[in-house]
């Protein structure tokens, strides 16, 4: 008897020892597994951190830009021109137009560069020798057009001397910021040696100073004058497209979600629609671009590069997202609410529009904003409908040629003046991300605010 119990006891101790022996190994595995999980989380967070720090560190310098403070004299000898023609009584429209065209041509033929050059020569340190091409290379080429526009807007400037903050050229910007290697030999530098020396001297005595790069936000894209290239045109293009998406995708998406969730009978057809929508949500965005190129551009002949076509493509792309999110929100409404409304004699539409929709409004709003934000960042389909065209004007309607913020990033990224545009591209990305983050923040704020109000 005691023998037997001893035996079991021994066996139990054996097993105990066995388990205990394995325990250390098992705990080690546990620890390793847990460490692996933590590593994964840290890696994921690390990627977020690296992504944002590289973009911000690359982009921040581009928000500062070199300006040249100069006094420009609108010299009457250089600006030898009759006053702008005014329409005479009895003059025909065509005649007047021809006359003003001629005047403008004459205006453009004037030597505006001489104005710029004269103002810079005044600032030269005593004894500094530089030829006019090299001297002009430190000013952005857009500035002479700006002087012309100032003059057209206010002809009384003739003969006056006014202080003007001119944009320094992109090459000067690179040189001063050190984005180009300062040790490189003359052959690899974009600026000639005297121009580089002058830029340094001007920077030291304060003629050239760094200021906030307003051009980035207020100007349109420019090829010939990189330092004056800005996002305003792309921003308006994106804005038009977003308006189209908001006007079309949100109501249509919410309406179809309501139908599928609240009205549709359970049938093969609605099942098919559901599968269809889930699939559409996972179709690559570039396929929507192909659809847009074939249907909107080639069949309906919508204008190429217009925000109208882009907005329609983005609408179709955003629809499934909005439908799925709205359906999820509608599913979350307790069944009792529906039964109470129906039980009191409300019709189905009254139930939906008077009771269900107001309850889900915050979620639907959030879903819509998130869908719209997603559309804002989309690039690939827009390339296929010609929105990567170079557009030097702010579009004034959805039918005008335009580009979009993400496409502008793509275009700048491909610019040959890499030294300058890498920073500008990062800055554009910061603007785009800023917009998207604010949209999402608005969504979160609205949801919490509306839900608290209830």
């Amino acid at each position: 008897m005691s023998d037997l119990s001893n035996q079991t006891k021994a066996a139990g101790e054996d097993r105990h020892a066995l388990v205990r022996k394995g325990l250390a190994r098992r705990h080690r595995t546990e620890w390793l597994f847990r460490a692996a999980g933590l590593t994964a989380v840290i890696l994921a967070l690390g990627f977020v951190a690296i992504l944002f720090t590289t973009i911000v560190s690359k982009g921040l310098p581009a928000f500062q830009q070199a300006y040249i403070s100069a006094n420009v004299q609108f010299d009457p000898e250089l600006l030898n021109l009759d006053p702008a023609p005014e329409r005479q009584a009895g003059q025909s429209q065509a005649d007047f137009q021809a006359q003003s065209f001629a005047w403008q041509r004459e205006l453009a033929m004037l030597n505006w560069n001489a104005l710029v050059e004269a103002s810079l020569r005044d600032l030269l340190p005593i004894g500094f020798e530089i030829d006019s091409r090299q001297l002009l290379s430190i000013v952005e080429t857009s500035e002479r057009h700006r002087l012309r526009e100032m003059f057209v807007a206010d002809p009384s400037l003739l003969g006056q001397t006014v202080p003007v903050e001119m944009l320094a050229s992109a090459n000067v910007d690179n040189w001063l910021k050190g984005t180009i290697n300062r040790e490189l030999g003359d052959a690899q530098q974009q600026l000639s040696a005297p121009a580089r020396q002058l830029a340094d001297e001007f920077y030291e005595n304060g003629v050239i100073h760094m200021g906030f790069a307003w051009a980035l936000l207020t100007n349109v894209d420019s090829r010939s004058a990189p330092a004056s290239a800005g996002l305003a045109g792309a921003f308006m293009g994106s804005l038009y497209m977003l308006l189209i998406v908001i006007v079309l995708a949100v109501p249509i998406g919410v309406a179809s979600a309501i139908y599928l969730e609240e009205f549709a009978p359970k049938s093969r057809l609605t099942d098919f629609i559901e599968v269809n929508i889930n699939n559409l949500a996972a179709v690559p965005s570039i396929v929507f671009g192909l659809l847009g190129a074939a249907v909107f551009i080639n069949y309906f002949r919508l204008p190429l590069s217009a925000p109208l076509a882009g907005g329609l493509v983005l609408t179709l792309m955003t629809l499934p997202t909005i439908i799925i999110a709205t359906r999820a929100a509608l599913k979350g409404v307790p069944q009792s609410l529906r039964q109470a409304a129906l039980g009191l004699g409300a019709s189905r539409s009254q139930m939906v529009f008077h009771h269900i929709l107001p309850v889900t409004f915050p979620s639907i709003l959030t879903a819509s904003i998130i869908g719209v934000a997603q559309a804002l960042g989309e690039t690939a389909p827009l390339l296929l409908i010609g929105m990567n065209a170079f557009v030097a004007q702010i579009p004034t309607s959805p039918m005008d040629q335009a580009t979009a913020l993400p496409v502008q990033i793509f275009l700048w990224n491909g610019n040959e003046n890499r030294n300058f545009f890498e920073a500008r591209t990062s800055a554009a990305i910061m603007v785009l991300l800023g917009l998207m983050i604010s949209l999402n923040a608005i969504a979160i704020f609205l949801r919490t605010y509306l839900e608290r109000k209830k």
Binding site: T29, E30, F33, R34, A36, G37, A40, V41, L43, A44, L45, F47, V48, I50, T54, I55, I252, S256, I258, Y259, L260, I273, V275, N279, L280, A282, V283, P284, S285, I286, V287, F288, L290, L291, A294, N298, L304, L319, P320, S347, R348, S349, A373, L376, G377, T379, A380, L383, L384, G386, P406, I409, F410, N413, S426, I429, L432, L433, M436, N440
Partner: protein
């Protein structure tokens, strides 16, 4: 007569009709017409629907087919030999006449027949616009009057309004189907046109991708799909090698180990990665990851190109992490607690429970998430456009540049919209391939995920 004005007129008509219906029914009710079945605003809405629907229908038809009608009218004005020649000269002539008619000038000399056609077209457009807008307005007002006469106390205005609303809702959900139909129809029809230039066998099994642009058009160039498909596959594999372990382990850690507070902070931060536009990832890959990798390669004596399958795959993997982690997180949460508790009760450690009980139970769902992520990796465009190097050659080394289906679509179609040659039409054949592959992946994935959800519901 621009579209904004037409929209404004429609809106005015809408408001007017509503007001007419509302006040008419109210007047009837106060003058003792008896108890009304529906409330006044339903009568207003019904009259508004009656008034606007026919007008909107006419204007919509005109918006859809007006261009075609005016194009054929212009053709009838142009010299016969120009029309019978067809092709580009005809299209140019039509657009020149249109530009003249709308008052913009055109480049070059204006031929006599062009000026005459432009005058006729301008007159035609004016008349047609007047007819269309006039008939729309007439129909709207007639319908309004008719609907107003229908108002009686017994008219079931509410039911009719609701039926109209339901119809509108059905129409809205039909747009999703129309989109799919549009995608399939446009891809298939253009792809078939492409296959009249290039033998489908040469396309699907060709190993050389070299779409030569030539002015003569015709079937010049080689359009082999395999190098592109291989590049796509390689990049997707690299992406999944990055995303699957990190995403899945993140989901497991956040779902099982992390304290509530940590989870509440970390989960949204990781999901930020999902909201970043892909062009930003492309830029990141091109300017940061690529140089880093090639520098690293030089350090250990490997020749890694800045733009390569590895660069693109790595960054795409980072993009997909949140996709895998949030889907897996959802799925892990759906596994019943009883399974977990049972395992703990038998003395298993937490990691043993996760690996032997939780993951097998969640496996179908995770496979579904994996397939969805693969489909996303295959369809991703901007990262590979910027960072894969655009070198459509069949090679196995992931450290070399490569190209993908999506990159080629962008290259072939960007800036070209007269789909006449195989150079641009091939984009649709590629798009069709891409669509079919992702569709299969999505259908299987969605089916698996759905089955999984039902299993534990």
């Amino acid at each position: 007569m621009n579209s904004l004005m037409i929209a404004a007129i429609l809106l005015v008509l809408l408001g007017l009709a509503y007001q007419v219906g509302w006040s008419r029914s109210r007047a009837l009710a106060t003058s003792g017409g008896g108890r009304f079945h529906s409330r006044f605003h339903y009568h207003g809405a019904l009259v508004a629907i009656w008034a606007v629907a026919p007008a909107a229908l006419i204007l919509g038809l005109w918006a859809l087919f007006g261009q075609t009608v005016s194009a054929s009218y212009v053709q009838s004005l142009l010299p016969v030999e120009l029309v019978s020649a067809g092709g580009n000269p005809l299209a140019t002539a039509i657009s020149r006449v249109r530009a003249l008619a709308s008052g913009y000038g055109v480049a070059g000399e204006v031929a006599d027949y062009e000026a005459a056609a432009a005058d006729a077209l301008a007159r035609f457009q004016l008349i047609v616009t007047l007819i269309v807008v006039g008939s729309a307005a007439a129909c709207g007002i007639l319908a309004l009057l008719f609907a107003r006469r229908r108002i009686t106390p017994r008219l079931r205005a509410r039911n009719q309004v609701e039926r109209a609303i339901t119809l509108l809702l059905v129409a809205c959900s039909a747009i999703a189907i129309l989109t799919t139909v549009g995608i399939v129809a446009s891809l298939v029809s253009e792809a078939i046109r492409f296959f009249t230039f290039v033998n489908p066998l040469d396309f699907f099994f060709g190993t050389v991708w070299n779409p030569v642009f030539s002015s003569t058009g015709g079937g010049s160039g080689r359009y082999g799909l395999l190098p592109l498909l291989w590049g796509t596959t390689m990049i997707a594999i690299i992406a999944m090698l990055v995303a699957l372990p990190i995403g899945l382990m993140t989901a497991i850690y956040l779902n099982q180990y992390a304290p509530r507070g940590v989870r509440a902070v970390v989960k949204p931060i990781v999901e930020i990665l999902a909201g970043i536009p892909t062009i930003v990832y492309g830029f990141f890959a091109l300017t940061t990851v690529g140089p880093f990798l090639s520098g690293f390669g030089a350090m250990i004596g490997l020749d890694i190109r800045g733009t390569s399958a590895l660069t693109a795959g790595l960054v795409m993997g980072i993009m997909i992490i949140p996709f895998i982690s949030s889907l897996s997180d959802d799925i892990l949460s759906q596994v019943p607690t009883s399974l977990r508790d049972g395992s703990y009760g038998l003395g298993a450690t937490q990691s043993e429970t996760i690996r032997r009980v939780l993951l097998p139970a969640a496996l179908p769902g995770i496979v579904g998430a994996f397939l969805l992520a693969v489909s996303r990796a295959i369809g991703e465009t901007m990262i590979v456009v910027l960072a894969a190097g655009n070198s459509p050659v069949l090679r196995a080394n992931p450290l070399e540049p490569t190209s993908t289906v999506t990159v080629s679509i962008v290259n072939q179609l960007t800036g070209d919209t007269d789909f006449t040659g195989p150079q641009s039409l091939v984009a649709f054949a590629l798009g069709l391939t891409l669509f079919v592959i992702t569709l299969c992946l999505n259908v299987v994935a969605l089916y698996i995920v759905r089955r999984f959800r039902e299993q534990y519901d």
